[in-house]
Structures are given as C-alpha cells and as structure tokens.
C-alpha cells in the first residue's frame, strides 16, 4: 500500500521532557519505515523508525499497549484501542527485542566469576579452617546438647514421628550391643559418654553426631556377616567422635547454610536446615578425617584384641554388593580408595585370626534381631 497514508485513532504520548500528556495522531510515512507522532503542543513531532519500536509488556492496560522507541529514550506512546495496538504490532518487526546496554554480558560474566570465586573461598577455605579451630573450643556439654537436637531433626528427616520412634530395642539385642560397645570403649580415653543405638532403616549406613552419639542402621547390621565387622565400623565411628569430626562438620554446614540461603533466595525457607541435616547423614568428611578414623579404629581394635581385618573385609563386601556407589551409602563406601583402606585394615591386624569373638552366636543373632521380626536378608 505504498503511497497511502494510514491515520490511526488518537493515542497518548509523553515526550519524556515534561509531564504533559499529548493526545496524538499517528501516521506511517510514505516509505513505511517511520511512525510519525504528532499532536497539538507536541514540539517537535516525533518520528520512530518501525525497526526500533519496542513494546513494553506486563502492563495493566487491559486491551491497550505501551510502546517506546530504542532511539527516542524515555518517550512513551500509550494506546488504549485494541485495533490500533494490533495495527502497530503488525507493522513493527522487532517489538520484543531486548536492548541491552553495551558490555552488560561482559559485566555479568566478570561479576559471575567474582561471585563464584568469593563463595568458593568462603565455603572451601575460610569456613573449614575456622570450623577446625572453633570445634576444639566448644565445651563437651554443649556438644552433647547440640548432638541431641541434631538427632531429633534427623529422626524427623528419616521418617520418625516422635523422638526415639525409630530406635530399635530388645532386651537381648541391647545387651549384645552394650557388650560390644563396652569392649571398645574400654580402650578409649574420651571425655564423651558413648551412646550407640540402632535405627530401623534399611540403608547400609552408620554415622556419628556431635557429643558421642553413634548411630548404626539396621541395614548395616544386616549386611555384616560377622559381629567383628560391626565392631570395626563402630570403632571407625568412635574415631570420628573422638576427633570431633561431626562438630567440625556442623560448624562448616552452619557457615555454608547462610550462603546457600542467600544464593537460593527466600522461596525455600527450610533449605538451610535441611542442608545441615543432610550433611550429617551423608557425613562427607574430608579424606584425612576418614584415614584418621581408620587408624584410630585399627588401634583400638588391636587394643581390644579384635581383628581389624574384619573391617577391611566388610569394605570389600559392601563394594562387591553395591559397586562404587556414591551418595546414599554413606561415607563408609563413598570414599574413593576403598580397596586401599581394606588393605590397610588387613595389614594393621595383629590378631592373626586368633581372638575372642566380640559376641557369641546367640548374642550376634540377638543384635541382628534388635529391630523386631523385620528379618534381614542374610548373605
């Protein structure tokens, strides 16, 4: 339709210099490349190249629309008639193009890297270093109180309705567990009152919380083929307790949780709490802490006259059954060098296969049945 001038119904225009509303008429120039905006008192007239016209969306205008022009800064054209808005939309090819200021993406990349570096520095370097220092400063009774509240949260997380809900107990099973704990605890000079319990959960897992509480999962006892294997795992966890690893982990998680909350925004309020709890169960201590706990376990097992080879055997067995599974199966098996740890456990064995069993056959069966008649699959 070259040569015909199309005139649209009046619309309102703000030129971006004065707060005066101009009722304007619109026309498209002969060559159809410019939108001419003119009205009484609007000096000078505005010419908007159709390619540069942008629509500003998400406006509460019902059927109307608001337009601006890339090359005419602040000026705004507001249309209240749907037909007029549709006509303008039909003429302008780049309505929804985003005009980003030059070098914006470079700035985003620069500051993005800066933000990542800053977060990594605090989460991987500063907080762990501080956590190590602070962990030693916390008095034992505070660690115990902290451990208690952590246990409450964890039981909730694992599906227990009330406190103590998931803890397994039977007279004979408890006695067997106590016998095992006593034989190991006698070798340890620790300020903590060791409390060991079995949780009714099928995962092959064991972990320690601050203040001397150790938890064995039913699934772990089910997977073990001898009581000495359980004793080995227990000795390893006692090692974490004595080295205050769970407390370090808590401090680290608390420091990181604030950062995570900041990064994720406010739409998930419970993220921070959940993260702290999750870290406890998966208990990803750093490699050094695992090796220290292993060495500790080897030493007290030797002192107690028990074979550390059983711990190594258990590692191998778990690996055979589940492969090198990450994540769900706890720090016991997620450690990359499982085979090396198994070897070191065997090398550290001083019993040469000659030892007083940690539990009698009857006691071992009682421990395996401590969670009631949910009979575990035996290998």
């Amino acid at each position: 339709m070259t040569g015909t001038e199309t005139t649209y119904a009046p619309a309102t225009f703000y030129d971006g210099r004065t707060p005066v509303s101009h009722v304007v008429s619109l026309a498209v120039s002969d060559d159809e490349h410019l939108l001419q905006i003119s009205g009484a008192g609007l000096e000078p007239e505005h010419y908007w190249p159709l390619d540069d016209i942008r629509e500003h969306r998400d406006q509460a205008l019902r059927d109307g629309a608001m337009f601006g022009c890339r090359t005419d800064g602040v000026a705004r054209l507001t249309i209240h008639k749907p037909e007029t808005a549709a006509a303008i939309r039909a003429m302008c090819p780049h309505l929804s193009q985003r005009d980003v200021a030059p070098r914006t993406y470079r700035k985003v990349a620069f500051w993005g890297l800066g933000a990542v570096a800053s977060v990594l520095l605090i989460v991987l370097v500063i907080i762990p270093a501080l956590a190590n220092r602070l962990a030693v400063l916390i008095p034992v009774e505070q660690e115990v109180a902290l451990g208690r509240s952590v246990m409450n949260q964890l039981e909730g997380l694992l599906g227990g309705e009330r406190r103590g809900d998931l803890t397994c107990s039977s007279p004979a099973g408890d006695a067997a567990l106590q016998k095992m704990v006593a034989r190991l605890a006698a070798q340890v000079d620790s300020p903590y009152d060791l409390q060991v319990r079995v949780l009714d959960n099928g995962m092959t897992n064991a972990f320690a919380v601050p203040g001397g509480q150790v938890v064995l999962f039913r699934g772990l006892i089910g997977d073990a083929t001898s009581p000495e294997m359980v004793a080995g795992v227990l000795a390893h966890e006692i090692g974490h307790v004595v080295n205050r690893d769970p407390t370090r982990l808590m401090l680290r998680a608390a420091g990181s949780a604030g950062i995570m909350g900041m990064l994720l925004g406010d739409f998930t309020g419970g993220t921070a709490i959940l993260l702290v709890s999750e870290q406890m169960v998966s208990a990803k201590y750093h490699q050094g802490a695992e090796e220290d706990a292993d060495s500790f376990a080897h030493a007290i097992l030797a002192d107690a006259g028990l074979p550390s080879a059983a711990l190594g055997e258990f590692f191998g067995q778990v690996r055979e059954k589940y492969g090198d599974v990450e994540g769900f199966l706890s720090h016991l098996v997620s450690h990359p060098d499982l085979a090396g740890r198994a070897q070191r456990a065997e090398a550290a064995d001083v019993t040469a296969g000659d030892y007083t069993p940690v539990l009698s056959d009857a006691e071992w069966q009682a421990l395996r049945g401590i969670c009631g008649d949910t009979e575990v699959e035996s290998n």
Partner: protein, 416 residues
C-alpha cells in the same frame, strides 16, 4: 480520573485478577524450576504490572528495571558479601551454641551476650545501607508521565542515623520509635525527586503518637493483669480474660499504627513546595482484606495441591497394582531397594505438594492480598494542587550497576 478543575487528581487502580494471576503463576513456576535464578526477572515483571496498575490521574506509573540488571547487581553483592556473611553466620551459630549450656560465671554470660550482639551489629549497618540503596534503585527505575523519579546518593548518612536511632529506641524501650520512624522517613523523603521537583517531609515527629494509642492499650491490657497476678501470686480468671483480649488488641493496634502513621506522614509530604497529598486508608478495611485474602489463598492453594497429590498417588498405586505378584515379592525381599524406592516416592510426593502449594499460594496472594490492599490505598489517595506539576521537567538517569543486589542478598528488599 482528572478533576474537572485540573487542580487535584485521584489515584486509579486499574489492575485486574486474571492477567495478574497468569503473570503470578508463570513467574513463580519459572522461579521454582530454575531453582530461584528466575526470581530477578520475576520480580521485575510483577513490579512492572503493579506499577502500571497504579494510575494517578489515569496515567500509569512505569517500572523500567530489568531482570538482567537485578541479576548483575546480585552477583556483585554476592562477590562482596559472601565472605562477610559466611563469617557472620558461623559466628552467630557459635554464639547460639554457647546459649545451649548455662554459663558458669557472670563474666562468661556477659561474654556470650556480647558475642551475639557484636555479630548482629555487624549486619545492621549493611541492612540500613541495602535498604537505602534498594529504594534509590527502585525509584530511579520508576517513571510517571514520562518523568523519572530519583533519590540522592546519601546512603552513608542513612546508615549512621539508622544505627543511632535504633540504639535510642532500644534504650527507651520503644518509647522513641515514632521519633526513629519520622526522622528516617524525613531523611529519605527529603532526598527524593520527581523530575526536577523535590519531595519534602513536613510535620512534627510527636504527631505520630496518637497513631500508637492502640498499641499502648494492647500492651497495658497484657501487662497490668500480669503484674497484678504476679503480686497476688495466684491466677485470676478475669485477669486472664483481659490478657487474652490484649493479645488480640495488640496486633490490631500495630496495624492501626502502620495505617495511621502512613496517613500522618503522607498528609505532610509536599512535592516541589506546592503539590500535596492526602491518603486515608482504614485499619478495619486493611485487616479485613488481609484476613480474607490470606485465608482464601491458603485454602485454595492447599486444596488444589492435595488433590494433585492424591491423583499422583492414585496413578502410582495403579501402576504398582498392575505389576505381577512375583515382582512385588522380589521387591519386598530386596528390602533395601524397597526402602529406597518408597523413600524416594515419599520425598517426591512431599516435593510435589510443596512446589504446587508455593506456586499457587504466591500467585494467589498477589491477586487476593496485595492487589486489593494496593487498590484500597490508591482509592483513598488524592494528589492536590497538581497545577504545580507544570513547572517540573525531566531529570537525568541514575546508573546504578549494582541495582538492589545488596538488599536481595540480605533479603531485606521491598515487599513487592
């Protein structure tokens, strides 16, 4: 619409439920599925809608901030704040641990308290800073009739005043809170511009006290019977009834204070020396709209989420029911995998419920709470002596690279 005389204008509210609900659902859903990254863009889009719905004299406000700008600002804030906040968080946690056990000596107890306050004080200046800068950003991205709003660069003056008045308010057990509120408001308003026109906060700080009367009554209703029973050393029925009355009176009184202090402050604001404002929102209406909206929004959101969860559970049950029996036996025998599978299903179920509820509730609360409240405030507001607008012209733009990143990072941003 414009007054015929052209010398005073009412504020229209022209938002409507359906487009806002669509916008709310879309932006919240995108925020959840992008693990929160989209929230900057969501904020910008929702603001654009609310701004344009507020139309003094029929001309909508325009919000020109963008999501990308906010995202960049957030990255800058994180780069600066991550280390600082990590340390503060660790410090607070450590101080919190110390509270778990009783301190053996008086000195130790004092040291514990000091530790906590020092960590809190370490964040307070940042919060005031972020609030001032956030407000400056928002207003610099707000236009009306084509002219920009603007705020002077004066965040540091705001920080130390904010700190000083906070200490004063705490020291006087809240008696001087109106002074703090008035002086900080005046500091901000006197540095705010519309084009070349400057806003000014007039009035006297003590004129805010009448607005606080129901807060005082609420506190007295709770405190006096408490003191009396403390003296008699036994519970008294009527005293407990009076205290219960006070427990309702106090929150209502707080809303009354918010609404009426707003009336007083707005009534004493001027723009360019001549343009004045009146705003007369009503406490009863505000509480009514809020209660009605939040009840309806949470009821609808939880009903829909429960229905969806029930349908999902039904589908899964049907799928399992369709399996042949030996398969099920095998699963039960493989105890561990069964535990794992049911555990994951339960987690997925909770996550589904949570996400659906959050998305629905936040979209519905925009439509059922924020929009009616904003409409009420708009309807009760009038701008007077608008002849004075004619002498106002455009002001230069304000380039703020860090946008409101600090208030986003500290989560102290504006409500909308």
């Amino acid at each position: 619409m414009s007054d015929a005389s052209g010398n005073s204008i009412a504020v229209d509210y022209r938002g409507s439920p359906t487009p806002l609900l669509k916008l709310g659902l879309a932006t919240t859903f995108l925020t959840v599925v992008t693990l929160g990254i989209y929230r900057f863009w969501a904020r910008a889009r929702v603001r654009r809608y609310f701004w344009s719905a507020l139309a003094p004299g029929g001309d909508g406000l325009e919000y020109t901030g963008t999501g990308l700008e906010k995202f960049l600002g957030f990255l800058i804030a994180v780069a600066f704040l991550a280390v600082y906040l990590g340390l503060v968080q660790l410090g607070l946690f450590f101080a919190g641990l110390s509270l778990l056990s009783e301190a053996e000596t008086q000195a130790k107890a004092l040291a514990q308290m000091a530790g906590q306050y020092i960590t809190l004080l370490a964040v307070l200046p940042l919060i005031f800073y972020a609030q001032y800068r956030g407000r400056r950003y928002i207003l610099s991205r707000t236009r009306w009739r084509g002219l920009r709003f603007g705020v002077d660069r004066a965040a540091f003056g705001y920080v130390w005043r904010g700190m000083a008045y906070t200490v004063l308010s705490i020291a006087t057990l809240g008696l001087l809170l109106p002074l703090q509120m008035f002086r900080l408001e005046k500091y901000k308003v006197d540095r705010t511009w519309f084009g070349t026109g400057r806003f000014e906060q007039g009035g006297r700080w003590w004129t805010l006290y009448p607005a606080a009367k129901h807060v005082v009554i609420g506190i007295l209703l709770i405190a006096l019977p408490g003191v009396m029973m403390g003296l008699r050393q036994e519970p008294v029925v009527w005293a407990i009834v009076v205290m219960a009355l006070g427990a309702v009176w106090l929150p209502v009184g707080i809303v009354y204070y918010i609404v009426h202090s707003f009336r007083v402050l707005t009534g004493h604001k001027t723009l360019n020396g001549v343009i004045r404002f009146t705003s007369l929102p009503r406490t009863g209406k505000v509480i009514g709209l809020y209660l009605l909206g939040s009840t309806a929004a949470s009821l609808i959101a939880s009903t829909v989420a429960t229905l969806l969860l029930a349908i999902a559970a039904g589908v899964i049950a049907a799928a399992f029911g369709g399996m042949s029996t030996p398969d099920l036996d095998a699963m039960i025998a493989g105890e561990l995998r069964m535990d794992y599978a049911t555990g994951m299903l339960a987690v997925a179920g909770i996550a589904l419920f949570y996400i659906v509820f959050i998305v629905l509730f936040s979209a519905l609360s925009m439509v059922m709470i924020r929009q009616p409240l904003l409409a009420h405030y708009a309807a009760e507001t009038t701008i007077l002596n608008t002849e004075g607008l004619k002498t106002i012209t455009q002001r230069a733009g304000d380039k703020m690279v860090e946008a409101e990143g600090f208030s986003d990072a500290l989560d102290v941003g504006a409500g909308i």
